[in-house]
């Protein structure tokens, strides 16, 4: 479903810093892949390039048969809107929207009928255990609850690919474990693929495959 071939990316002109060097990766439908690496190794850049938020210097990213690198910004945005979901380390719920409004945002952007969007939002919130907090604002939530809301938002439109950038980085061990279980369960439930970027070995262990990103590229690590 996602095929990356020979991806390179450098930042800066005069003293360019090579962030991604000849990165290749295949992710199949329903697969849960973890990418580890040191800070600054380019993990988040890789996610941004996959999502079409950044462009590579060379290489291909084929998502569901489409080479993402050949699309313009609007096409990449629409692809991301319809087929991808994002989970961030810092949750990034919009503070002026309620939890329910945050979660249904992708459905509204896609143009789902309001009644259907309301139903799917409610179902998603129940699935992540936040139905009771639907009308609350993000500032009233704990870190674990906020991340569950963020996962609900990322999956509510049933994306083919979920991109998760350090989703447990801001959580305590117990909350992190709950969030990972939820993430894993929901990905399976929606038959989505997931690329998880993490520092945490414990988090990586929940994946089907684990890769390490370094200056030499992406290398698979035994579980």
């Amino acid at each position: 479903m996602l095929t990356i071939k020979g991806l390179t990316k450098a930042y800066g002109d005069v003293r360019a810093r090579q962030v991604l060097q000849d990165v290749s990766l295949d992710v199949g439908r329903g697969e849960f892949v973890a990418i580890m690496g040191e800070s600054g190794s380019g993990k988040s850049t890789l996610l941004n390039v996959i999502a079409g938020l950044d462009t590579p210097d060379s290489g291909e990213i084929v998502f569901d048969g489409t080479d993402v690198t050949t699309l313009d910004d609007t096409a990449r945005t629409l692809l991301r809107r319809d087929r991808m979901g994002f989970v961030f380390q810092a949750f990034h719920l919009l503070p002026h929207l309620t939890i329910a409004q945050n979660v249904r945002l992708p459905l509204d952007l896609i143009g789902v009928e309001p009644a259907d969007a309301t139903r799917r939002t409610r179902a998603m919130l129940e699935a992540v255990g936040l139905a009771a907090l639907a009308s609350d604002y993000p500032r009233t939530l704990s870190g674990g609850e906020a991340q569950r809301a963020a996962i609900a938002r990322a999956l509510v439109h049933a994306p083919a690919l979920l991109l998760a950038d350090e989703p447990t980085g801001n959580l305590d061990a117990e909350s992190a474990s709950q969030v990972l279980s939820l993430l894993r369960f929901q990905v399976r439930q929606h038959t989505s693929a997931c690329v998880l970027v993490t520092h945490s070995s414990a988090a990586a262990r929940t994946a089907d495959r684990v890769y390490v990103l370094s200056a030499r590229g992406l290398t698979m690590q035994a579980l």
């Binding site: 941004n48 938020l53 945005t77 809107r81 919009l94 509204d108 952007l109 500032r139 990322a154």
Partner: protein, 838 residues
Amino acid sequence: MFSGRWALLKAVSGGTWRDHPGRLVLAVLGIALGVALGVAVHLINASAVSEFDLAVRSLAGEADLVIRGPRSGFSEALYARIARRPEVRAASPAVEIEVQLPGRSETIKILGLDPFRAAQVQPHLLAGSREAVFELLKPDAVLISRAAADHLGLKAGDLLRMQIGVDTIAFRIAALLPAGATRQRLAVMDVANAQWRFGWLGQLHRIDVKLAPGTTTAAFQKAIEREIPPGVLIAAPQAEAERGASLSRAYRTNLDMLALVTLFTGAFLVFSTQFLAITRRRAQLALLRVLGLTRARLFRWIVLEGAVIGVCGSALGVVIGCALAQFGVERLGGDLGAGYFGTVTPGLSFDSGVLFIFFVLGVAFAITGAALPALGAARRAPALALKAGDEEAVLQRLTGWPGLLFIASGLALSQAPATDGLPLWGYLSIAFLLTGAILVMPRLAEFVLSRLPLLRYPPAALASAQLQATPRQVGVSLAAILASFSLMVSMLVMVGSFRDSLATWLDGMLPADLYVRAGSLGVTGYFTPREQTLIKNIAGVRDATFIRTQNVFLRSDRPPVALLARPLAPGKSHPALPFEGATRLVTSRGPPPAWLSEVAADLLGVTTGALIEIPIANTKHTFIVAGIWRDYARQNGAIAIERTRYVALTGDERANEAAVYLDPSAATDEVSTRLRAAFGNAEGLEIASTRELKRSSLAIFDRTFAVTYVLEIAAVVIGLFGVSASFSAQALARRREFGVLRHIGMTRREIAAMLGCEGLVVGGLGVLVGLALGWVISLILIHVINRQSFHWSMDMYLPWQALALLAAALVIAAGVTAVLSARRAMTGDVTRAVREDW
């Protein structure tokens, strides 16, 4: 420790300003513009008044007292009596006439002097020019001031042509007055010559009196009290100058107030800029509190930031203001085009005291604008302020009660009477209303925005949600635009009402088909009885009525009031005038009727039915006020009496103006041509159709208000600065939000549309409240400020088209500004913003 604290302050404040220099520049410009306009208007006004004062003094010379008569003058026998008194060391008789210059729409002041007497009282006028003194005795000679020579492009030996009646006579310029004599545009001739040539034989207009040592002015005034005929004033030169300056006092005060309003708007800009800046930096400031910065010191820091903005803005404003003043005087004159000081060319003097006062005012306004947000930031508990989403909570303290109290006080103040002839309470009332509305705005925004529907279009829905979640921030950000827009609306309504009332008034005042004048300016243009008959007998003229205009002194501290001798309207017991309220029927046995303009009635403090004394032909006559009429033409007031009575009292059968009614079949142009031919195509004859007069009157009106339009536009520009600063600040603060929205699939265009929707709603809210507030302020301007300043009443007129255009322009500007702010905020890699902490 001291340097450490300052280093920290520099790092915290300086860092913010370095990151967002645009916001700092806008706040500084807001104050600078207000200070600049204040400085410019005040300097120009002060220079014009001081020049006027100088002009009066230069004519009075070393005189201790000036005896001044009305336009019709007084008997020269008075001079003989005054000059013979033992308390008088020297007395200089003079004829003072404004004479129309043929072919030019301006006059020159003729001062007819006795050169030998003038040498004792006004020695500087003819100083060092013995030949010139003897030249003056020749009947065709005149001396002109250097200002007049420069202005008219004349030199010694040239001819100076002047209008008398409808004829033109030429005088030879024998020499120029000495350089230091006067800066007025003035011509000097022998007094007897002036009396003869201009038809004032046996009459004088002024006597400048130099008292003998040991005589006080008060004692002398008391001693000659009985000798002074009615309608003739005796006053010190200083009082003369003050009387002249009082003419433009209300106009000057209004300009000063408008400039202060601009500064006031600038202060609101500092307020909203600082409030939003502090709201954005709440976590940073809270962290400093956590690290040990005391509440008082934090307050002082933020106020200091405001003071720095104030100092920079004020300094810049003073410099720009001085340049603007120089430009204004050179291009528009000392009265900024209003026509009060036409013959005076002021030189600008930069009073450092005044500049300092405006500098301090600018700093004080900026500090006041920063103090409220500073108080809020210092009071906020650091633990709460560190949490995301606290921005709106900070504003929860803003209740609506203080604002409502301000509004109520403002409405109450609007009912207070004038102070010393100026509507100071009225202006304070407007300041209170503005402040009140701005304080109420956050609550009002909360009330209105909570009712916004959540639309299906995602950018609109997100915009709606954003506004509903931050209504009080929206309210604060509207401060500057609300202040400027409401003032703009109020001025538009006031000026529109004035213009509309003026047009209606002109319809009432100009019932005839043609108006013929023997010179529109000056006092030497007139029609003799023979010429009046000539006009009546022109082919195509059905009827003609004649008006004689003189002036009379009613109060010693005020300029003279116009005395209009008019015929009664056909079949009526009063002249054709735009009366306010009912007129009074006058019986033949009681005092004769006089019809007072609103200004004259207010000056005398009388209403219809009151008895008044009017000095005509140096005798006081009792009249009954038979009606009060609206007069926009004569700012010092006017009294109309029957022409037949005027002729009976004075024997003066001349007329300045003829209202000509044509036969239905007569063509205006043809009658005009016949009239000109009948007067030998005299240069001094002015013929205008009613339509032309209306058009030129409205053009003069528009020119007079041009400066106020400039000040209004300046205020709105400052307001738009506020909106722009607010949107760009909010857009930058929301970069991470935009980053998240980009991650979940919103296009740049959709984010811009979201911001655009927010801008339209915020702009719309500001415009709606501004329209309502502007309407209330316009009521105060029309019924309080104008009435108390100029004593003019007017009917309310709402210029819907202009208001709708302005409102639409402002809403669109707000929307566009918001979109541009979004674009600016999304330049660079906005997706990286999500990696920063909220």
